[in-house]
């Protein structure tokens, strides 16, 4: 249980202005370097940062002889045009919304299935020596296998339809979820379980009323990590048998050297990733109000 890595940007809640806990007393600390409570995100510098990125982008792509060739990395004007055109006309067979929704729904389905499989398996591993013995080698052996290496097998087994793509995203997320759920179980305070037994709970009740809620925070963090991993696997998942989807668009557009469209879709993925993380954080604050307060 001492083995944790942080959720992605767990502490960036403040980034988006919702949970900014600092105010007033900031000026009163004489020591801020090394004091975690002092380190929230400076909104001003966030704006500078995004502005800086834009500036660099502009600098390296401006003029008739840009530092980075237009066809390598397009300028802001070109990307903006591509974006508005993408919004208006979509790309190839799909509208912007269809592409976005196709990818989003694949990621969400993959994550959902990954979670639905991962939680019971993770719980089983956290609750039973036997099941842990059974799943441990499987999890450890399969986890590092590159999704791309699985593509041929997945085509053969699951075809080229949605199932294949979703399954690849399941693969990407299920290991994260298993590990998170297991950690959630292992983090259950022994005394809570003991207390529940003494209060007459049976095993099923222990699972339902003690272990499950106790593991929720870890599960939630797992979902957030898995989301990032799923988006990262999207292009691989959409390599096959589709031209609708952000990942497919990136792949196809790059085959036609349409770097403007590639960049637009990369940015859309980035922004959706950020947005979903915010949603998860809000949900988390709602659903697990006790988090960090136990």
């Amino acid at each position: 249980m001492s083995d944790h890595i942080p959720a992605p940007a767990a502490e960036t809640a403040a980034t988006f202005g919702r949970f900014d806990r600092r105010r007033g007393n900031q000026s009163r600390k004489t020591v801020t370097f090394g004091d975690a409570s002092e380190v929230t995100t400076s909104k001003v510098w966030m704006v500078f940062s995004l502005g800086g990125l834009m500036l660099i982008w502009w600098l390296v792509t401006r003029g008739p002889e840009p530092m980075i060739a237009e066809k390598t990395f397009p300028g802001q004007r070109a990307v903006w045009d591509a974006f508005t055109r993408w919004l208006r006309e979509g790309y190839r067979r799909g509208s912007a919304w269809e592409h976005t929704w196709a990818s989003l729904s694949r990621v969400l389905k993959g994550l959902l299935i990954g979670t639905v499989i991962g939680i019971p398996v993770g719980f089983a591993m956290g609750l039973s020596r036997r099941l842990r013995g059974i799943f441990d080698p499987i999890v450890e052996l399969f986890r590092p296998i590159p999704p791309l290496a699985l593509l041929p097998l997945f085509i053969m087994w699951f075809g080229i339809g949605e199932q294949s793509k979703v399954n690849l995203l399941v693969w990407a997320s299920v290991w994260v979820m298993i590990i998170a759920a297991r950690a959630g179980v292992l983090g259950v305070g022994g005394s809570k379980v003991h207390a529940a037994y003494s209060l007459g709970a049976n095993r099923w009740q222990i699972l339902r009323y003690v272990i499950l809620p106790n593991a929720l925070p870890e599960v939630f963090t797992g979902v957030r990590v898995a989301l990032g991993v799923s988006w990262g696997t999207l292009v691989a998942a959409e390599l096959l048998g589709t031209e609708v989807g952000l990942g497919a668009t990136i792949y196809i557009a790059s085959r036609f050297f349409r770097m403007d469209i590639v960049v637009v879709n990369i940015l859309v993925i980035g922004v959706i990733g950020v947005a979903m993380d915010i949603v998860m954080r809000v949900l988390e604050a709602r659903l697990i109000p006790w988090r960090g307060k136990g």
């Binding site: 305070g189 005394s191 809570k192 003991h194 207390a195 529940a196 037994y197 003494s198 209060l199 007459g200 709970a201 049976n202 009740q205 009323y209 003690v210 809620p213 106790n214 929720l216 697990i288 109000p289 006790w290 307060k293 136990g294």
Partner: protein
């Protein structure tokens, strides 16, 4: 009501790198129903181990424990446990915590509600039912834990340093509450504490335990708990009798400590 009987209980923990710890050796005692037993002793003398065995979380490596003649083989509702801290369910509110036992036993909702209200009243938390656990102070949380334990009407209440984390003042209040409950309900209570004063004040009976191997070094029958509620507790604690007893215990334990902890380096 049932008497508790601990017969020749031994507990040996085997250590992962070999070797073993004799956490309890041949511990025997009988506790009649309705007594309030306090356990006092230095760290590692097996207090928690003994409580866990009585609660049924651990099976002793030797001996047996019976309650009303029936052997204890696992946790049971007739033996409630109040932990030092952290055993409340923070995903439930106060009332849900207290209602946990009845709910697990599929008791009627309305009945449970009345029960919970009554218990919250008993522990002085009327109106706090819908508060979240993390909104309560430490002392209030301990009262919730007590109410939750009482909701199942256990024959025996086991408390492992229930007041250890509280400040002096809250602690004193909780001591009063425990005495009051004990008097009113007549339950059997076993309470572990590190505080000599607390052990004296609350204990109707007191065991001083000693480590290596864990055992009961000395048993006392005490008068203070009986009068603790009626007379002013602070006067009682300031009484010569109380102070004498305290000094006696402290000397004994101090000696024990010296003997045990001596190797850690004395403080000249």
């Amino acid at each position: 009501m049932k008497d508790l009987s601990v017969q020749n209980v031994s507990m040996v923990y085997e250590l992962p790198r070999g070797g073993s710890v004799q956490a309890l050796q041949d511990v025997s005692f009988d506790l009649e129903a309705g007594r309030l037993l306090t356990l006092l002793g230095p760290s590692g003398c097996g207090k928690t181990t003994l409580l866990n065995i009585i609660a049924g979380f651990l099976a002793p490596t030797g001996g047996a424990v019976t309650l009303g003649g029936d052997p204890i083989t696992g946790p049971g509702q007739e033996r409630g446990m109040v932990f030092q801290q952290g055993a409340l369910f923070e995903w439930q509110n106060v009332a849900q915590n207290v209602a946990f036992g009845p709910r697990m036993n599929h008791r009627k909702k309305s009945e449970t509600k009345d029960l919970v209200d009554g218990l919250l009243n008993t522990v002085g938390l009327t109106g706090f039912g819908d508060k979240a656990i993390y909104e309560l102070s430490g002392g209030m949380q301990q009262r919730v834990a007590l109410a939750r334990c009482l909701a199942n009407e256990p024959e025996v209440i086991l408390m492992d340093e229930p007041l250890g984390a509280l400040d002096a003042l809250t602690r004193e209040k909780m001591q009063g509450l425990i005495l009051k409950l004990w008097k009113e309900t007549g339950k059997t209570i076993i309470l572990v504490t590190h505080s000599v004063e607390e052990a004296l004040f609350l204990g109707d009976k007191l065991f001083v335990m000693a480590p290596r191997p864990g055992r009961i070094e000395q048993a006392y029958e005490l008068p203070f708990a009986e009068v603790g509620l009626t007379s002013d507790p602070r006067k009682l604690k300031a009484s010569a009798e109380f102070i004498d007893k305290r000094e006696e215990l402290l000397s004994m334990i101090w000696g024990m400590e010296e003997q045990i902890m001596g190797h850690e380096g004395g403080m000249s």
